[in-house]
Amino acid sequence: MVIARLQSKDGDIFIIDVDVAKRSNTLKLAIEMSKIDLDDDVIPIENITSNVLKPIIDWLTYHKDDEPSEPIKILKAKPYYISNWDKEFLKMDLKLLYEIMNAAHFLDIKDLVDLGCKHIANIIKISSHEELTEIFEFEATPILLTELEQIENM
């Protein structure tokens, strides 16, 4: 097993199987395109902190054998299915989830981004407008009245 060493912003080093790491397209590019010597060099990921990187690596490791998921074509009013392990995984506060989604977006892990989006979509589905404002702690950037009318008219 070939391993890769990932260094987070805080300087912690995570050891991860290369095949697992390659599920992130960004890391895959980094490993394949640049001449990183996996035995000696660490791969610095300078904009992701350890507390975010760790769950991402956990998720990658758990899902390493998964087939890439198909995009969903039919829109449903009901919440989307999320597996039990993922449900456990998503039990975190939204701030961390936000950072994880951003990091996954940066690392280009499509499935994880999709999972996060699905989760958020599910939350939006089951909550009312007021609850949404509360849950996501929106800064009150007021939406223009004309815009609001346009949206509500539809």
Partner: protein, 859 residues
């Protein structure tokens, strides 16, 4: 022949054997040897009468001026003596045929000669070479690459048999050298291109360009002279040529000598002020930076410098550091010092201001007993003085905070202190019986004090950055206890000295006025958040502020609103329409995502009840607003009564109209289960609907998938719709589903119309309309054919016939084995005919009205 003999002799003499084709060098040597032989035979005296003769390399040559020419070797060469060749293209002619351009570049003069070839074959290239040689003379050496420099055309270029061309070239004594692919610099030069700098001065000579030499070459070649004017002309031409040569030597050749510019690369040190060069900004706007740390590049040159820039708070690593000239550096440093000096002054002013205030307050406290005596107050009223002061301070401080965030703080401070001084001074003149006025003025003093004490720290904070800020603030707050301490002393001593507590209050306004003047003169109004490199913020409106203050989420984070657009888009793509609206209402960023084109690629227009529901209306509105983004349209209805169908027709026509107005270009169109024959037979609007559908389809030129199953058209309507489809996007179409498209189960497809769909991949049809002609029309790329059979269709003989007639239409796909699928029961990989026979024998009675057979062609 001579060359072969010489090679044979050489091979005998030396141990290294030379093999293969003769090289140019060998042929040259052979020629020299032959010449020597001839000269030895004919000119034994080594002289020719009437001509000066010299001997070079053992050969007699006629002595001419040319030998003494001081020009470079290259200049003695004719144009196109050494030539680079490359192929450019392909170019497309009007009739879509490709041509290539063979580019001959002269290595000395950079002239370019172009030849057109119509194919990449070796023969064509050789013909182009022939033409070139006929026009420009035979080159001695040809350079060319092996053709890998055009990535896409690589393979085409390789089709040229360079080996053969090379051999051919040798016969004509052209040396052929292949250079590495990346060194193909030849084609970059064009004839008209100036070879030297283009001068702005119109009086200057015309710039030298390679074409001049080409011109000259052709002129030289006309040698038949005799008459006088021609000789003159020739002289004139040769004079011109000489001038040209001298200019060439002066202006161009001197340029070829490349001198490295001396780079001023001073030793940088930590702490130096540098300009950070940025490609996307003008030099004027390059930010200044102070070097924190120098990182050395691999070659030991300090390329990387790290430092905080005033505009960017974080320290950044700059890769291109340009040190400003010494003057600039000096200037900047001085400026900084000046600014720092100014800050110190400002600081002093603020301290000054702090002092008198406190002095006055505490001097009042110091003389409180006397004040009590003067106004004959009891304890509670005396306490009221301080209480009122504090209360007014408390009320007005937030107001000044608000003002300070929006208006010029210097003026606010100046006004506040003037106000403070005036009220303090007035307070000392209040007579004995007007204690109420005294109280009021003391309260006003609180207002003045509120003005400076809320704003002064913010100015200090904005003027100084991290390290100096605490120092500045400390200096400011240090003034407060200093003021209190001295206030007691000053207040009571002044009161004693001048005989009256009022004097204690009258001293301090003088100090106050002093600091007002200092503030107005010296205090530069800093931008808010200046030290942190903040940009100027626009003042927000008061109502908006109040609203924001009233809103409970005021202090919340912008986090989720600031989600990257891609992520927001993909969240929204998981939401149904209603949820999207709900989410879009939350904040403006999310409502932006609501308008993203990707979200509106699909549009469903589906009627499920008897009346028109909200969904249909919404679909119409989406079509009106986002119609241009729609890529896939689905139209269908279930369980709709007569009246509902009329409404449906009306709204569908409206939908088509709106989509056309928005210039929507569909990729997929699905209109199913309209059952025209059954449901619309007696409806007068049927004709309009068919017509609109037809017109809509005629506009859609980018369709790839069309599903029109269960439409149940009559013959005339169906054919017209199909024709519209064939007209607009016949060959583009990849998938076409026409199951139960016609009501009539006769082979009625028009052969010509079906032929237009030549690139179909997937087709579904009714078995009854299949004919061998139609199958031929289905195109050659078919991989998936679904045939729906009715109960009375599935006689094995007919199916056999079908399979045979189907076969030639998809020759690329061998129909080796089919898998049959039945809606009732299925068994994979059974041969269809056997399977149908088996079904007929066993389940003929229990089968439903229809079943479909899926014929899968396995490649």
């Amino acid at each position: 022949m001579m060359a072969w003999i010489r090679r044979f002799i050489n091979n005998l003499r030396s141990s290294t054997k030379v093999k293969g084709e003769l090289s140019v060098k060998e042929i040259d040597e052979a020629e020299l040897a032959l010449l020597k032989l001839v000269q030895a035979e004919c000119l034994p005296s080594h002289s020719i009468p009437g001509l000066k003769v010299c001997e070079v390399e053992g050969i007699l040559r006629v002595k001419t001026k040319l030998i003494y020419s001081s020009d470079e070797f290259g200049f003695r060469l004719p144009v196109f003596e050494v030539v680079g060749i490359d192929l450019a293209g392909p170019l497309y002619l009007k009739d879509q045929t490709k041509t290539w351009v063979v580019l001959f570049t002269c290595a000395v003069y950079r002239c370019v000669h172009l030849e057109l070839v119509i194919s990449l074959s070796t023969e064509d290239f050789l013909m182009a070479l022939e033409r070139f040689i006929k026009r420009r003379g035979r080159p001695s050496t040809i350079f060319s690459d092996n053709g890998t420099n055009f990535v896409g055309a690589n393979n085409f270029f390789k089709q040229i048999d360079w080996e053969r061309v090379s051999n051919d070239g040798k016969v004509k004594r052209i040396g052929w050298k292949f250079i590495p692919p990346t060194a193909a610099w030849w084609e970059a030069v064009m004839n008209g291109r100036p070879m030297t700098y283009v001068s702005d001065d119109p009086n200057d000579l015309v710039t030298i360009s390679p074409s001049m030499f080409l011109q000259e070459q052709t002129d030289v070649e006309c040698q038949n002279m005799g008459s006088n004017p021609t000789t003159q002309k020739l002289r004139y031409l040769s004079k011109l040529r000489d001038e040209l040569k001298s200019r060439f030597r002066k202006e161009y050749l001197s340029l070829l000598v490349q001198r490295n510019r001396r780079i001023y690369n001073p030793k940088l040190q930590a702490g130096d002020v540098v300009l950070v060069g940025m490609d996307n900004k003008k030099r004027n706007f390059w930010p200044l930076a102070v070097i924190e740390e120098i990182l050395f590049g691999r070659d030991g040159v300090n390329r990387l410098v790290k430092g905080p820039t005033p505009g960017i708070r974080r320290s950044c690593v700059c890769t291109h550091v340009r040190v400003g000239s010494k003057g600039v550096c000096f200037h900047v440093r001085n400026g900084l010092k000046l600014q720092a000096k100014g800050l110190c002054l400002v600081d002093h002013c603020l301290v000054l201001r702090g002092l008198p205030d406190k002095v006055s307050d505490e001097s009042e406290s110091g003389v409180l007993e006397e004040v009590r005596g003067y106004y004959s107050l009891d304890d509670s009223l005396a306490g009221l003085i301080q209480t009122l002061f504090v209360v007014s301070y408390m009320i007005t401080a937030p107001i000044f905070g608000y003002l300070g965030d929006r208006y010029n703080r210097t003026y606010i401070i100046a006004a506040g202190i003037s106000f403070w001084s005036v009220t303090t001074l007035l307070g000392s003149f209040i007579p004995r019986d007007k204690f109420g006025w005294f109280l009021f003025l003391r309260a006003m003093v609180g207002v003045g004090e509120a003005s400076y004490s809320t704003i002064a720290p913010t100015i200090i904070a904005d003027l100084f950055s991290e390290a100096h800020r605490s120092f500045g603030l400390a200096f400011f707050y240090f003034a407060i206890p200093l003021g209190s301490g001295s206030g007691y002393m000053v207040g009571s001593s002044v009161a004693k000295a001048l005989g009256g507590w009022q004097w204690g209050l009258r001293v301090t306004p003088g100090l106050g006025i002093l600091s007002v003047v200092a503030a107005l003169l010296l205090l530069v109004h800093p931008q808010r958040g200046h030290a942190e490199g903040a940009q100027a913020q626009n003042a927000t409106s008061l109502t908006h502020d109040l609203k924001a203050l009233a809103h409970k989420d005021k202090a919340m984070i912008i986090m989720w609103a600031g989600l990257p657009q891609e992520l927001l888009g993909s969240i929204f793509s998981y939401l149904s329409y209603n949820d999207r609206v709900a989410a879009a209402r939350v904040c403006s960023q999310w409502s932006c995502a609501f308008h993203h084109p990707d979200l509106w690629h699909t549009l469903d227009f589906e009627c499920q009840g008897r009346v028109f529901s909200r969904d249909e209306r919404r679909a119409l509105k989406i079509a009106e607003r986002f119609g241009k983004y729609v890529k896939a349209l689905t139209v269908s209805y279930h369980k709709v009564n007569f009246k509902g169908r009329q409404m449906f027709q009306k709204h569908l026509c409206q939908l088509f109209q709106r989509l056309s107005e928005q210039k929507c270009r569909l990729k997929a169109f699905k209109m199913t289960q309209l059952f025209f024959h059954h449901h619309w037979r007696n409806i007068s609007n049927r004709k309009i609907l068919v017509d609109r559908t037809r017109r809509f389809l005629r506009q859609q030129t980018r369709l790839e998938t069309v599903d029109l199953s269960k439409m149940d058209f009559n013959v005339k309507d169906g054919l017209r719709v199909l024709e519209a489809l064939a007209d607009s996007c016949g060959p583009r179409l990849r998938e076409l589903y026409l199951k139960d498209f016609f009501h009539n189960h006769q082979p009625i497809y028009r052969h010509k119309t079906m032929l237009t769909f030549s690139n179909l991949l997937k087709v579904s049809l009714n078995h009854s309309v299949l004919s061998s002609k139609l199958c031929l029309g289905l195109g050659t790329k078919l991989v998936h054919l679904t045939i729906k059979c009715r109960r009375h269709d599935f006689f094995p003989i007919e199916l056999t016939g079908t399979s045979e007639s189907c076969h030639p239409s998809c020759p690329s796909v061998p129909l080796n084995y089919w898998s049959g699928y039945l809606s009732e029961e299925g068994e994979d990989n059974a041969e269809l005919i056997d399977y149908v026979r088996y079904l007929r024998d066993n389940f003929a009675n229990s089968l439903g009205e229809t079943f479909s057979v899926l014929l899968v062609c396995v490649a």
